[in-house]
Structures are given as C-alpha cells and as structure tokens.
Amino acid sequence: MKGLEKIIICRCEEVDLEEIRQTVSQYGSSARETKLRTRAGMGYCGGRICRPMLDAILKKIMGDKPQDQIPLKIQPPVRPVTLARLGDGLHHDD
C-alpha cells in the first residue's frame, strides 16, 4: 500500500490512512477505540462513508483478534437532522 498513506479515509474529519495506522500501532486499538482517538467516522455524515473502510482496515491490520469482533455501531439518527425538526414539528418563526 505504498504511496497511499496520505489517502483520506474519513472526509468529514480529515483523517488519512497514515494517522489510522499510526494510532493502531501506537495504542493497539480496536476499530472503536481508533474511531474515538482519531475521530474518523464521527463527522457530519455519521460515518456513512468511512465506517466500512475503517472496519476493513482494522481487520487487515489486526487480523482476527477477538477485540475486533464487534464492528462499528450505527448510531441514531441515521441521517443528520436539525434540532428544530426533532422539536415536535413546532416552529417559532412568528
């Protein structure tokens, strides 16, 4: 994978492959811990783009160690919504 180290994995939080690899080699972290340390997968899109990539990268680096058996969770809301929309449909424009 030479030359691909600077490829961006998480576009929302701008985390590249190098940063993920460094974090994993430094802390021996699982997919979830890597997510929390680098913020990859915690951006605006809710990890919709990079979550499968993160899981795949971690699986490749760590092999099939038991700590990686839990894939990254999908948190509600599945799509970004505004607080106004969640607020019972009430509008305070007037």
Partner: protein, 135 residues
C-alpha cells in the same frame, strides 16, 4: 455560459431546450437549466469547489452525488447544510459556499495543553507575553 454541459451526446442525442434559471453562488451571478441540481448547475459553469473543510480549509466538492456523504453541503437561502447534489435550483436562489471556521480551542501540538485552572492560564499568559516581548 454553461461551458461544461454536454449538448450533443452520441447516444442520448441533442439536449432539449430548457428554461434558463438565474441564481447566485457566493455573490456571483450564474445561470442553469430548469431541473438542474445546485451541483450540476455549478459544475456546468465550471465551479467544482462547493465548500472548504471547516477546520483545515481544504477544498471540498461533489463526492457521492446521491445525498449520502454530505460533502457537497452548502447554504441555500440562509439555510445551512443543504446538499447541493439533491437540491434543485430555483429562480433567484442565493447559495453560499461552506467557509473555514475559527478554532480558538485547538491545541498547537503534543506539548500544548489548554489551561485547566485560572492559575495555569495566568502563568501561561505571562510566559507567552515574555516570549512576545523578546521576539
């Protein structure tokens, strides 16, 4: 105007005439066709950079074009976070690109920590003042 639009496609044929719609992007006047999305209308005008990353300022534009990745979000008529790839243009639409935001609480490196108490803050302010006067 509309330099990047394919008007004569070898398979799909000629592009039919459509109503021209005027809109502004970052204060500049542009025109697109009826039925265009914000992204396609801007792309036809040669504008591919829709926003910059809020923290780093790196340019961002269309990525998935199906409303999935939120990379193309712009501000439309004052409403932020609108996906340019899914929103159709309307007459006199005011579109603003995403800008870089200030990061006053960002640490500058591994040795730089935010002060946790006022005493820490005071010493930190003092030392940085000394450094500034020396420089």
């Amino acid at each position: 105007m509309m330099t990047n639009r394919i008007v004569n496609h070898p398979v799909l044929g000629k592009l039919e005439e459509r109503k021209v719609i005027q809109f502004t992007f970052d204060g500049k006047q542009f025109s697109g066709c009826e039925g265009d999305t914000v992204a396609s209308a801007l792309w036809a005008n040669g504008v591919k950079k829709l926003r910059v990353h809020e923290e780093s300022g790196q340019p961002r534009g269309l990525y998935c074009n199906i409303g999935h990745c939120f990379e193309c979000r712009v501000t439309v008529n004052g409403q932020p976070g609108v996906r340019a790839c899914l929103t159709k243009i309307e007459e006199n639409m005011v579109i603003e690109s995403g800008k870089q935001l200030p990061t006053p609480l960002k640490t500058k490196g591994p040795g730089d920590h935010l002060p946790r108490t006022y005493a820490e803050y005071a010493t930190k302010a003092e030392t940085s003042e000394e450094e500034n006067s020396r420089a």
